[in-house]
């Protein structure tokens, strides 16, 4: 039970981490000029699609977890969550 909970937390954490990276791409980085053609309204559209995209990433996060448990590389692999008692 605790292991299942930890795995669920891990997958959700991995999903949110990937979402955070995409949000940084959309919201951070240097802005050179006012000629940005994707307006605020368009960014809203991007974020609307983000939730759908994150859902699709669940399978990706799961496969990474399995890769780690089978001795995959530690590079860019999220750390495991704490094990909980009970």
């Amino acid at each position: 039970m605790a292991a299942d909970e930890a795995r669920t937390d891990f997958e959700e954490g991995a999903r949110l981490a990937l979402g955070d990276l995409l949000n940084r791409v959309l919201d951070k980085g240097v802005v050179i000029s006012g000629t940005v053609t994707i307006s605020v309204a368009d960014v809203d559209l991007i974020q609307l699609g983000l939730n759908l995209y994150l859902t699709a990433l669940e399978g990706h996060a799961r496969s990474r977890l399995e890769s780690r448990s089978h001795g995959g590389s530690d590079a860019d692999i999220p750390l495991l969550p704490p094990q909980r008692e009970g």
Binding site: G13, L18, D20, V30, T37
Partner: protein, 238 residues
């Protein structure tokens, strides 16, 4: 006369660096180097591609493609200044003109991220503290105000947990971090994301420093991601 295709900007480097052969960006267009001479500082190399107006993939897949180009630039060994997603110029010349105008701001930005990468830690906040509290569907004004007060209390609790976690992570990372930035999100699941600007060679030490947090008493998952181009720390002063 046919108008040139617009130029899409991915990132900037402060030295010449050819994109890997076959690297494509938005709309599967080839990524190329646009060199802008700088009188006293050598060159600025912009990684760009042609892209027809209306063909910029505005969904998350576009952001992912943008990041893949910045990641390829990071892999050259020189840290790029990643551009914010969505910057389109009328032509290469227009892009170069804007870059030349921003030169006084770009040079300190290059110095800030030189030799560094961005790492990030994302931590879930406890689900017990994340119970949804809404002020909708209530019968009386008193009930509404009580729910509102509970929502504020809940947010303050999450902010306090986030601050505590940030302190623990800062202690663990110690001198590895040149700079940090904290993002607290309440939706869709409360979590805190902390970015660090660290030296390229410090990735292994950074991961080892944070490993104990994943096996201690912290609630929820602690996830480390990176290295990525330093989006969070790529800002211009004006």
């Amino acid at each position: 006369m046919v108008d040139p295709m617009p130029t899409y900007l991915y990132c900037l480097l402060n030295e010449k660096a050819d994109p890997p052969h076959g690297l494509t960006g938005l709309a599967e267009m080839a990524v190329r180097q646009l060199v802008v001479p700088v009188a006293t500082e050598g060159v600025i190399a912009a990684w760009v591609s042609d892209v027809a107006r209306g063909e910029v993939e505005r969904g998350p897949e576009g952001a992912r493609t943008h990041d893949s180009v910045c990641a390829a630039a990071l892999a050259t060994g020189t840290t790029p200044l990643p551009a914010r997603f969505g910057q389109l110029f009328d032509s290469d010349e227009a892009c170069a003109t804007h870059l030349a105008e921003r030169l006084p701001d770009l040079l300190p930005a290059f110095r800030r991220v030189a030799g560094a990468v961005e790492m990030a830690v994302t931590a879930l906040l406890p689900a017990s503290a994340a119970a949804p509290v809404t002020a909708t569907g209530v019968a009386t004004g008193r009930e509404y105000l009580l729910r509102l007060r509970e929502a504020h209390r809940h947010e303050a609790e999450l902010a306090s947990m986030s601050a505590h976690l940030r302190e623990r992570i800062a202690d663990a990372v110690g001198g590895l971090s040149r700079e940090e930035a904290v993002r607290l999100s309440l939706t869709p699941r409360p979590h805190v994301a902390i970015s660090h600007l660290i030296a390229r060679a410090g990735e292994g030490a950074y991961r080892r420093a944070l490993a104990p947090l994943a096996t201690g008493s912290e609630p929820g998952a602690v996830v480390v991601t990176g290295p990525t181009a330093p989006y969070t720390f790529a800002t211009l002063d004006s």
